[in-house]
């Protein structure tokens, strides 16, 4: 399986190396991906819960101004 690419720019020599991630780098990358996915899921769940709460408040007869005042 092809691993993601990493680009290393030595700013002192201006040498640029582009290669696949090694095993350790790839493991670190996967960990970041997991964190991101967990964070995204949490944010999406929070957003969905908010939308649901707003819908329920509206169903109870509250106006948008009243909901915003909460």
């Amino acid at each position: 399986m092809t691993k993601p690419m990493i680009k290393i720019h030595n700013v002192e020599t201006d040498e640029i190396i582009e290669r696949e991630m090694n095993a350790q780098e790839y493991a670190e990358h996967l960990q970041l991906v997991q964190e991101y996915q967990a964070q995204t899921a949490e944010a999406e769940a929070k957003s969905a819960a908010r939308a649901s709460a707003l819908a329920k408040l509206a169903a109870l007869g509250l106006t948008e101004t009243e909901i915003a005042a909460l």
């Binding site: 993601p4 690419m5 990493i6 680009k7 290393i8 720019h9 002192e12």
Partner: protein
């Protein structure tokens, strides 16, 4: 009037007396236009050099007697040097034997072979020759040639004249260290010199397909926990959202452009990045275009809880970077 020799019993004529009287206030001028050797005939006259190039007036021994005097002058553009031929010509300590244009001197013979030059070229001839030259001094007056544009005069005891023209240090300026396009999933800027006070990074038009996120780490460190604070609107919170308990060193996700053609500009500032005694602080500000074409603005701060000097910066994406560039500047 040339030197006169009178004999015992001689009766002076009115013309002779008048000529002698006139010699007190209107001496005969003997103008020379090339190198010249003084002769006894010059006594009682003024020897003036008038030449465009450099010339000499040579003083030899055995020509003049003790007490004899001569007026010398230079009206030409070329410097005229009163030169000791076979005689010794001394001068007042700060005077010069060189007569520049319109300078004069009084030559007094102490003996037939030793003369003293009393020159109005006090201190030296005027040494400056070119627009912008300065008058310097070491053991004598000397020229300090004008420097090049934007140089400043700097004291330097190692220089013969104690000063030199030098390019000022780049205090307060920004030096572009590198420009790198974003490709791959991780971009590392390595071997960053610790010679600046601050690092500043301009990230332009960064876009990563599918994920639109960016994580910044230093020296490859993913283990030291960091902390980031955030200011801005709800939209900004979404654009610059935080992960509260992860183990990334700068535990912040930053939304990037939402398409390869959208617009963004982020500025990352890392002051005191090369010190080895304290944690490292980072500040980021930017504007990012959203998928709807509006912009989110925000400021984000964080620190790296590590005392090592920052020598590399990693930009970690989730997807692949497909557009954008980063300019790394060192601020002095």
């Amino acid at each position: 009037m040339a030197l006169q020799t009178f004999t015992t019993g001689q009766v002076l004529t009115a013309a002779q007396v008048s000529a002698l009287q006139a010699n007190d206030y209107n001496q005969t001028v003997s103008t020379k236009t090339a190198n010249y050797v003084l002769t006894i005939a010059d006594l009682g006259s003024r020897v003036f050099m008038n030449a465009a190039g450099a010339t000499t007036i040579t003083v030899n021994t055995g020509i003049f007697a003790a007490g004899d005097t001569l007026w010398l002058g230079n009206i030409g553009a070329g410097a005229c040097v009163v030169t000791a031929g076979t005689a010794t010509v001394s001068k007042f300590s700060t005077a010069s034997l060189t007569l520049s244009q319109y300078q004069g001197a009084f030559l007094y013979f102490v003996s037939t072979g030793v003369a003293i030059l009393y020159s109005d070229a006090a201190g030296a001839s005027f040494p400056v020759t070119t627009k912008g030259d300065l008058f310097g001094y070491d053991t004598a007056a000397a020229r300090i040639p004008v420097g090049t544009n934007n140089q400043v005069l700097t004291a330097d005891s190692a220089q013969a004249l104690g000063v030199k023209w030098a390019t000022p240090s780049s205090g307060g300026g920004m030096t572009l260290i590198s420009t790198t396009s974003f490709t791959g999933t991780v971009l590392t800027l390595s071997s960053i010199a610790g010679t600046y006070k601050e690092l500043r990074l301009y990230i332009k038009g960064l876009y990563a397909a599918n994920t639109n996120t960016l994580n910044v780490t230093f020296n490859g460190d993913l283990t030291n926990p960091g902390y980031a604070s955030l200011t801005g609107s709800d939209a900004m919170n979404r654009a610059f959202s935080l992960s509260g308990s992860g183990n990334s060193s700068m535990n912040t996700w930053t939304y990037l452009n939402t398409s390869a053609n959208s617009d963004s500009f982020l500025v990352l500032t890392i002051p005191n990045y090369s010190n080895t005694t304290t944690m490292k602080f980072m500040n980021a500000t930017g504007a990012v275009e959203t998928s709807s074409g509006s912009y989110t603005l925000g400021t984000w701060t964080g620190f790296w809880n590590n005392t090592s000097a920052i020598t590399s910066i990693e930009f970690r994406g989730i997807g692949t970077f497909t557009a954008g560039s980063v300019e790394l500047y060192g601020v002095s």
